[in-house]
Assembly symmetry: C2
Homo-oligomer: 416 residues x 2
């Protein structure tokens, strides 16, 4: 592990293998398990750094692909790096851009050396290679960088998954060799699709390269939850216990509980903030839709047991009104609540692990938490993909008509 980093495993749950640890970085320690809020474009949507600190965020994730395209890594470097640019003095993890290049970029052409693609913003031709992805992340100056990997689509044939995995291994070695800054930790990424034996082969190949942390990539791409947990459960036993483990793009509250039970330490997902902006708020009983009629005059907060800024200060009725009126403050208050929920959930899991009672805690939590059903999840995914497609005016001149209309009025509608 690089001299600026260390991971201390503080407790392991005897029943499940769930881990409580502490991950030291140049910008502070992260107590694990920990959920990382997503700040795609150098901002966690609608929130200030102070609000993120107050709600207990220890580390945030930002997206290399997006920052590479806009404002550009050169610009951020000239302005003193990503921490200073966005005024976040705590740890930052940047993904490598691999996932976005393969899932969001267009007209991409892959070769052994790297990927050429068109920017979703202006259609310009851009290129990322393992070396370039590391160089960009060094310009951003994140605490944790990720290897540039090929994220195979779901479903993929065994042969596709193998070819992609082997390229990911070669690229991981090139990323490791490209790193020049000692104050950033580079994590390796394990691929292999939904094939357990490939995943295990990938875990062995990537850990042989001796990274300071390991991620399970290529999940949360359309596979079922069962497949995700089967893969995760197959991989984590092969990872060294003295390095942090990160399950990429996961997840919901129940996903964190399951991931932790399989020995995962770090998580990230847009779900808590994205569904917050759609008026869906986490409670221990499951998600609450803030616009439902029963909350119209509820003077109590959305979750009376919650200690977040929103629940301490505002009635459910006010939040209901803000969402009905499509007011920007609503998106912000809901985001604070959901991220605070994830931070508290992480802390509660950690306490249960330290106490050696994570198995019981997990059963109790899951028995009370009503999970949003799989069909609804898939439906949300489709809607989300359509919404993403609608944000590409430069590539699709008809996009205007397909844009999600919901957000138009909060910006404009003020009394005259």
């Amino acid at each position: 592990m690089a001299p600026f980093f260390s991971f201390t495993l503080e407790a392991t749950d005897p029943e499940t293998g769930a881990r409580a640890g502490s991950f030291t970085t140049p910008h502070g320690d992260i107590l694990t398990p920990s959920f990382m809020p997503v700040g795609t474009q150098a901002t966690v949507k609608s929130l200030s750094p102070e609000e993120l600190t107050d709600l207990g965020a220890q580390i945030i994730l930002s997206n290399t692909y997006h920052l590479f395209l806009r404002p550009g890594a050169d610009t951020i470097a000239r302005l003193g790096g990503l921490h200073r640019f966005m005024r976040w003095d705590h740890p930052i993890l940047t993904d490598s851009g691999g996932f976005q290049v393969f899932s969001l970029a267009h007209l991409r052409t892959l070769d052994e050396d790297g990927v050429t693609f068109r920017s979703h913003i202006d259609g310009s031709e851009r290129r990322l290679t393992p070396e370039r992805a590391v160089a960009v992340q060094e310009q951003l100056g994140s605490d944790v960088m990720m290897c540039f990997d090929e994220c195979v689509e779901y479903p993929a044939t065994r042969e596709r998954a193998r070819v992609s995995m082997e390229r990911t291994h070669r690229w991981a070695e090139r990323c490791r060799n490209a790193q020049t800054r000692p104050d950033q930790a580079l994590f390796g990424i394990i691929q292999g699709g939904t094939y357990e034996d490939l995943r295990q082969e990938s875990a062995r190949a990537i850990t042989a390269l001796d990274f300071p942390g390991y991620a399970i990539g290529g999940v949360s791409v359309g596979e079922t939850k069962q497949e995700c947990w089967r893969i995760t459960g197959a991989v984590t036993p092969l990872l060294p216990i003295d390095r942090p483990r990160y399950l990429m793009g996961v997840g919901s509250p129940e996903d964190l509980v399951e991931g932790v039970a399989r020995g995962v330490d770090l998580f990230d997902c847009v779900l808590p903030t994205r569904i917050a902006r759609n008026g869906s708020l986490f409670t221990d009983a499951g998600r609450v839709t803030v616009t439902r009629a029963t909350l119209r005059e509820q003077d109590a907060p959305i979750d009376p047991t919650c200690d977040c800024y929103t629940c301490r200060h505002y009635s459910a009725a006010y939040l209901h009104h803000l969402f009905k009126a499509e007011e920007l403050l609503g998106y912000r208050l809901a985001s604070i609540h959901n991220l605070r929920y994830m931070a508290r959930l992480s802390a509660r899991m950690r306490a249960a692990i330290v106490d050696g009672r994570y198995g019981d805690w997990r059963r109790e939590f899951l028995s009370g938490y009503r999970v949003a059903d799989e069909a609804k999840r898939q439906e949300q995914r489709v809607k989300r993909d359509a919404a993403w497609a609608a944000t590409r005016p430069a590539l699709d001149e008809s996009a205007g008509a397909r844009r999600v209309p919901q957000a138009a009025s909060p910006l404009m509608e003020e009394a005259s």
Copy 2:
């Protein structure tokens, strides 16, 4: 004046007649001149009450028409009134809904008793009368209520303006008679179109009813700035010096400076927050467009002389990026800046008045401030009206296609 209210005139500028005063209300004192940020739907768009307090807002305005339709005055009353509902413990002024009914509502029919109109939200038929407008404002519990007036369109014939003005006078008396709560001040509104003699007649009629404060209504409706100042200058000399004076719907920084020079104490306008969300920020040199290319890598804040949260903490480059990326935090940071600018401007005018040098201060300010030109103002008005029209899906099924697309992506676009 009602027992809960008092207005103390502290200084009058010898050259211009500009006034420095202090207006006491049940929720606190307001040092005048003062600009009131607009919180149309029980929220100043994107901002928390703490942010409003920190930036120096002493009083905010909220809109009776909007709250009457959603969430409804009964709901807000059951939840403890508007202050508690939106968690703003400082003074609130509510307009009467008259302006919105006449300019924004649809299929309205006017009779001597009141106005019947269709909700812009769901098309339902609603009715406001002078008595009902006061009752609704008493349910909201604002510190300052406004009389229900008829706001005549611009341009209007002399006869139209007279008929409308006379009805406004009769309605003012009915509003005064309808008031039951002593802890709210009801302000009279002067109308009369662009006709100086009608305006003066209206000032005499309304002041004869002895209200604790007086407003000049029916301005900022399309007339030229010259007409607005001509009307204002004709009215203020007729108003009692021991009551606050409020110029409704005005305005920009230069408008405040001119209004104060004509003896006005209170102002409100959506302009500072609306143009903030379009990336237009106030400085003493005029408006700065945050997306302009020269700010792309400016490490200094938008306005190095500004003490707002935004300018103290963020580079112009970061703000530039947030607007280019259509990020919600950008709208918030820009709104904070513009409202802080208006609060500081108010305080600077007050200090100059107290020092007896307002005339000089005004000349100096106006010589440095580049005013957005009239043609651009008119163009913005047209765009704004179109944007408003586009927010009426219930009344206009084709509205979706015409909606302003800008705001769609900040809500949805997050890395997957």
